[in-house]
Amino acid sequence: MSTEHPDPAAGVGGEVAGGAAPLLEMRSVNAHYGAVHALADVNLAIYQGELVCLLGGNASGKSTTLKTLLGMLKPTSGEVVLDGEVVNDKPTSYRVARGVTMVPENRRLFKRLTVRENLDLGAYLRTDSQQIAADMERVFELFPRVKERLNQKSGTLSGGEQQMVAIGRALMAAPRVLLMDEPSMGLAPALVQQNFELISQIHEAGLTVFMVEQNANMALSIADRGWVLQTGRVVLDDTAEKLLAHPDLQASYLGTAEQ
C-alpha cells in the first residue's frame, strides 16, 4: 500500500513528498492470542503530519493493532517499523522514547496523583528539563483549564478536564506520532464533540495522529485517510471522503456504529 498512498488532506503541517518513508508502519503483521488469529496480514503506514484512523467494530483487532505498535504484544510474523527501524523486539519504553505515545481508552489517568504528577509522568523518559518545561507551557496554552487544576488530584476532575490531562500527558512525552485509543469511548456526546475538536487542534499544531475508533462518521469527519478492520483483516483502505461515501462502509459498518 505504501506505493500509492493518497496525499494527506490540505491544511496538514508536513508536506509529504512522494518518496518519503512512513513514520510508523506495519508490514504484513500477523498476531495471535493463543490460538486466536487476531491480526491477519495487516499493512498500515502512517506518514508525518497525517491524521489517520483505524475503524472497526468490537473484536475487529483495533486494540491488538495498538498493542502491537506499542510493543505490548509481539507479532507472530511481519514487521513493525518505526522511522525505518524494525522494532519487533524492542520494549514499549524504547518506542515511547522514540516518539510513539498513546492516549489510552477511557483516559486512564493516575487518579490518586495530582495533575502535575500525571503530566510529569508523561515526560518520564525525558531528561531535557528545559524542553520539558517548555512543553508543559505548550500544554497550558492548549488547555488553560489544566493549569488551573495543576495541584488537584486528577480523579477529582470532570470528564472533559480529564481528557485534556490525558492528551496533555501524552504530549509531555514529545511524541512524533500520537496513538488515540477510542477517543469517543465513555464520554457524553457533548464531550465526544469537544474531544474530536481537541484532536484536530493538536493535529493542526503539527502532530501526526493515528486514531482508533468505532464512531466512523465522527472519526472520518476530521481524518485524512482511514482503514476499516474486520476480524483482524484490513478490508477497506482509502481517503476519508471516499470511505464515507463507500457503499460497503455505509452498509456493513456505519449501520451499527452510528450514534
Binding site: L70, M72, T92, S93, V96, A97, M102, P104, R108, F110, K111, R112, L113, E117, D120, L121, G122, Y124, L125, R169, A173
Partner: protein, 372 residues
C-alpha cells in the same frame, strides 16, 4: 467483606444484626472500661469504679506516662515494618507474609555486627558510630533479602491470582526462619550491653534513652521514606505502578525495576526496625519476626492498607493500645492477669477497626478489579 455502601438498602440479615451487636458491645466495653478508669483516677472510692473492680489500684501519672512511651516506641517499630506490607500490597496487591522475617534478618544482622564491634572494642568506645554502622549493614542486608525474595519467589508468579504469591510468602517465611536456625542455631542470642545513658530514664520527660532513640530514628526513617515516595521521580513511578501498572509501562516506566525498588525500600525499613528492636530488647531468636510481623500487618490493615500515613498511624495505634489498653480498659473492669493480654488487645484493635471501618482508618475503597 461486602462494603457497607453495597449493603445499604438491602434487607438486613441475621449476620448484619450480629455485626451490629458486636460493634455495639465492643464500643460498650471500651467506654465502660475508660469510664471506670477515669472514675477510679478521680476518686479511688468512687462507687462505680468499686462496683466495676473492687480490687482496682489505678495508675500513677508516672506509670501511665511510662505505658504511653513504651507503646509509642513499640508502635513506631510496628509502623516501620507495616510500611513494607503496605507498599508491597500497593504495587502487587498481595500480602507478603515473609516481610516479618526480613525484620528478623535485620535484628540478627545487627546482633552479629554489634557483637563483632564489641569484640573489637568499638561498641564501647564509640557507641553512636557503631550504631550507625550496624544500621547501614542491616539496611543493606535486609534490602537485598527483600529483593532476592521478590526475584526468586514472587516475580515468577506475576500475573497469577493473588492467593498464589500469598501462600508462597508463607513458605518463604518458613524458609527464612529455618535458614536462620541452620545458620545461627535455635537459641536466643544477645546484643552486647549498651551504655548507661541508653538504659536509664532521663530527667527529660522520664523516658529511657533507648526509647528516645527508637522514636527519633523511626520518625527520621519515616520522613526519609515519605520524601522518597512523594517527592522523587522513583517514588512517583512507584505510585504510578501502584495505581495502574499497564499505563505506567506506557509512560516508559520499567515496572519490574520499580517493584524491586519497592521491595528494597520496604526491606530497608524492616532492617531499621530490626536494629531498634535489638537495642530495645537486646535479644533475638529465629522466631522474633513472627509476632511483630503479624502485628505490623494488623497495623497496616488498621491504618488502611496501601496508605503510608496509615501504616504509621496503625502502628502507633496498635502499639499504644496493647501497652495502655490492658491496664486502662481491662483492669478497671475486673479482668484478671491483664499484663498477659497485650497480644489479645492488639488483635482486638484490628477486629474492632475492621468491624467499624472495614477499609481502615485512612483506607480508600479498594479497587474492585483483581490486580496481581
Amino acid at each position: 467483606m461486602v462494603p457497607r455502601t453495597l449493603r445499604r438498602g438491602t434487607p438486613r440479615t441475621g449476620v448484619d444484626w450480629f455485626l451490629t451487636f458486636l460493634r455495639v458491645s465492643a464500643l460498650t466495653v471500651v467506654a465502660l472500661g475508660l469510664l471506670a478508669f477515669i472514675a477510679q483516677e478521680i476518686d479511688s472510692d468512687n462507687p462505680f469504679a468499686r462496683w466495676a473492680n473492687p480490687d482496682a489500684t489505678g495508675l500513677t501519672g508516672e506509670q501511665f506516662w511510662g505505658l504511653v512511651v513504651s507503646g509509642v516506641s513499640q508502635g513506631a517499630m510496628y509502623g516501620l515494618i507495616a510500611l513494607g506490607y503496605s507498599m508491597v500490597y500497593g504495587v502487587l496487591g498481595f500480602i507478603n507474609f515473609a516481610h516479618g522475617e526480613v525484620f528478623m534478618v535485620g535484628a540478627m544482622t545487627g546482633m552479629i555486627t554489634s557483637n563483632k564491634l564489641a569484640d573489637a572494642g568499638m561498641w564501647e568506645s564509640n557507641f553512636i558510630g557503631s550504631l550507625v554502622l550496624i544500621v547501614v549493614v542491616s539496611v543493606i542486608v535486609c534490602s537485598l533479602t527483600a529483593v532476592i525474595m521478590e526475584r526468586v519467589a514472587y516475580r515468577p508468579l506475576r500475573g497469577q491470582p493473588r492467593l498464589i504469591p500469598l501462600i508462597t510468602s508463607i513458605g518463604v517465611s518458613f524458609f527464612i526462619q529455618n535458614a536462620s536456625i541452620v545458620l545461627l542455631g535455635p537459641a536466643a542470642k544477645a546484643y552486647p550491653d549498651v551504655p548507661d545513658w541508653v538504659k536509664t530514664k532521663h530527667t527529660f520527660l522520664q523516658i529511657e534513652g533507648s526509647r528516645i532513640l527508637v522514636i527519633l530514628v523511626a520518625a527520621a526513617s519515616m520522613i526519609c521514606l515519605w520524601y522518597v515516595v512523594e517527592r522523587t521521580k522513583s517514588g512517583r513511578a512507584m505510585r504510578a505502578v501502584a495505581e495502574d501498572s499497564e499505563i505506567a509501562a506506557l509512560m516508559g516506566i520499567d515496572v519490574n525495576r520499580t517493584i524491586v525498588k519497592v521491595f528494597a525500600l520496604g526491606g530497608a525499613m524492616a532492617g531499621m526496625a530490626g536494629i531498634l528492636w535489638g537495642i530495645l530488647f537486646r535479644s533475638v531468636i529465629h522466631s522474633t519476626g513472627f509476632l511483630p510481623g503479624i502485628k505490623a500487618f494488623s497495623a497496616a490493615v488498621v491504618g488502611g492498607i496501601g496508605h503510608l500515613g496509615g501504616a504509621m498511624t496503625g502502628g502507633l495505634t496498635i502499639g499504644v493500645a496493647e501497652s495502655v489498653g490492658p491496664l486502662v480498659i481491662l483492669e478497671p473492669l475486673g479482668v484478671s492477669g491483664v499484663s498477659q493480654l497485650r497480644d489479645a488487645v492488639a488483635f482486638a484493635v484490628l477486629i474492632g477497626v475492621l468491624l467499624l471501618r472495614p477499609s481502615g482508618i485512612f483506607g480508600e475503597r479498594l479497587p474492585a478489579e483483581d490486580r496481581t
